[in-house]
Symmetry: C2
Subunit: 351 residues, 2 copies
């Protein structure tokens, strides 16, 4: 397959005085904002680790803690709604840190005039997904702002999980070794393109469906066959590219990905080519990237494929001794292309 | 003093199809929305307790967990900004549950075009307050929405604290007895009226200043002199009335408050009378209501008064055997008035 890699936006930086949509992209600008503002002031040893969840020592236990706000537009899309996203997103941030997700908060910012019946559908979706994922929503908050000062509904979920001591290395990936394999549990770009198609009311014959799902069950299935999982991250905003960049950036190893090995659905690929998007930079909401011991890779992929959410799981690349701190894609025609994080904004409000 | 008690809004109910500003008031409509929608779907034994924080059993420890979104308008006001509020609000929710606040999350929803320098002031305020309160901001999130789809900045903070086993009764107030005294740490209504004055650019000679502050240090000072504190709640949206209503509603005891005993600053009282507000229903961001053993009440008030944030602390009433499930104010002229929760919206986006 051919990945187009056109960036519609020049790289922007913090010197601009005002917030740009790109500051919410999950790509370079978001990272800049985090590093140059939030980490600058909030800095402490736990925050600075910058995992998807933070690991908190509480009375001898290790607790994972994470937060995410959801502002997706439209709030209903093929495959889910903002409520499904709010539960899956936070459950997944906990699960990829190696933790068992236990408790969620749910805080709603509602626009005056928003339909209570739509809110009820969303709340019910959250309840159903929380139940399915085995987590409890234990605390909440509701704020209402005047018409025109929000957009229907924004949801924040924060989550708490318990992190087994033998999984504390997963967030940092500090046990990664040369030769380790990189796995993904299925096709990329479904969520981003499903929301995009819905938002623009595109008349597409082959409907795209978001992959939005809590992944803790799938991850448990992988651990059941092997504890040799050395790193996990869910590929959300910024797509697979952002996760891979976070994986290799500043490290003593490199990453090599086989373009042919990355699962992408034909309809997503077609739409990406049409619109000039790189599927590797398109958001997912049910995809986990794992770095695992080479000898266990096939076994873990089989375990993933036996789970509903991993039927298209594949080994997509490996950790290399060459080009440390960089990532390369080996393209279908045998060329090499650098893996790059999204610079500006591709799809605002994708989650 | 005379408390005006004019409600500008009729009571509204969930049968209306759309979200009203009053659903965010912290009064009756908010309680309706919580009970009839969120609790209906999310119900579990932890959420149903409906404390300011939820108490989570994690591997033998008791963890307090809370969440709050902040949408105050304007974002800067005399005495603080939305960042101060976001830290104080969540620290206070933990502290009034009896917990020692430890960790916060910080999630930002930013409007495209919002000033980065204003954001920096807000973030710095949060860092300063977190440090002063002895909590760490350990995880965060940033989303950006298009111009006109949010209002500058909304902040969600969630918080985790550890709850000593001997303070587990505080959230529910289950140890409350007839004769217990009701204490507040100072004057009511400052936050609401300061924001109100700022928002409407009222030309007021005697400036009102928000009481926004983290109260965990003050609460520690009270516990240092006595563990006989049986219930605490911070009086935020919905004011003192909402806290008192939550205290007596459905209980086998009543509440009696001496109107003369409630501290209110003259400028706040004047503005309330002018605008037809009841100070008891106006928001605070640095006020805790405590129910304590009668014999220890004076001692606890003295401890509060020795702290910067409790100089005007006072005993304002007591738990009574008469009129169970109801609350009464004994007015200055010797009359009686029922304590009632705010029905609709008084001051939208006060926190």
């Amino acid at each position: 397959m051919l990945f187009l890699n056109i960036n519609h936006f020049n790289e922007l930086n913090m010197k601009r005085e005002n917030i740009l949509l790109g500051h919410g992209s999950g790509g370079k600008l978001t990272h800049d904002l985090i590093d140059k503002l939030f980490v600058k002031y909030f800095s402490n040893e736990i925050l600075d680790a910058q995992g998807d969840s933070s690991i908190l020592p509480i009375e001898g236990e290790q607790i994972s803690f994470t937060t995410d706000s959801f502002v997706v537009n439209p709030i209903f899309f093929p495959g889910g709604n903002i409520g499904n996203l709010a539960v899956a997103g936070t459950v997944n941030d906990l699960a990829v840190s190696g933790a068992k997700p236990l408790y969620l908060s749910a805080a709603f910012i509602l626009e005056e005039g928003f339909s209570l019946s739509e809110l009820e559908i969303i709340v019910k979706s959250m309840a159903d997904d929380a139940k399915a994922a085995g987590v409890k929503i234990v605390t909440g908050d509701t704020k209402v702002v005047e018409r025109g000062h929000a957009d229907k509904v924004f949801i924040n979920t924060s989550g708490i999980g318990i992190l087994p001591k033998n999984r504390m290395h997963i967030s940092s990936g500090k046990n990664i070794e040369i030769g380790d394999k990189i796995i993904i549990n299925g096709a990329i770009g479904d969520h981003g393109m499903a929301v995009m198609a819905q938002r623009n009311d595109l008349n597409i014959t082959s409907e795209m469906v978001s992959d939005c799902a809590p992944l803790n069950g799938l991850i448990d299935a992988a651990f059941a066959v092997s504890e040799d999982i050395k790193f996990m991250r869910d590929a959300t905003r910024g797509g697979l590219s952002s996760v891979l960049t976070e994986l290799f950036e500043g490290k003593s190893f490199g990453v090599e990905i086989e373009e042919d090995a990355i699962p992408v659905h034909d309809n997503v690929l077609g739409m990406c080519e049409l619109l000039g998007f790189d599927p590797m930079q398109v958001a997912n909401e049910g995809k986990v990237v794992m770095v695992v011991k080479a000898e266990k890779a096939e076994e873990i992929v089989l375990a993933l494929r036996n789970h509903t959410l991993g039927k298209e799981a594949a080994i997509i690349g490996e950790i290399t001794v060459s080009h440390p701190g960089k990532g390369w894609i080996i393209t279908t025609i045998g060329g090499k292309r650098v893996i790059d994080m999204l610079a500006g904004e591709q799809l605002p409000r994708i989650c």
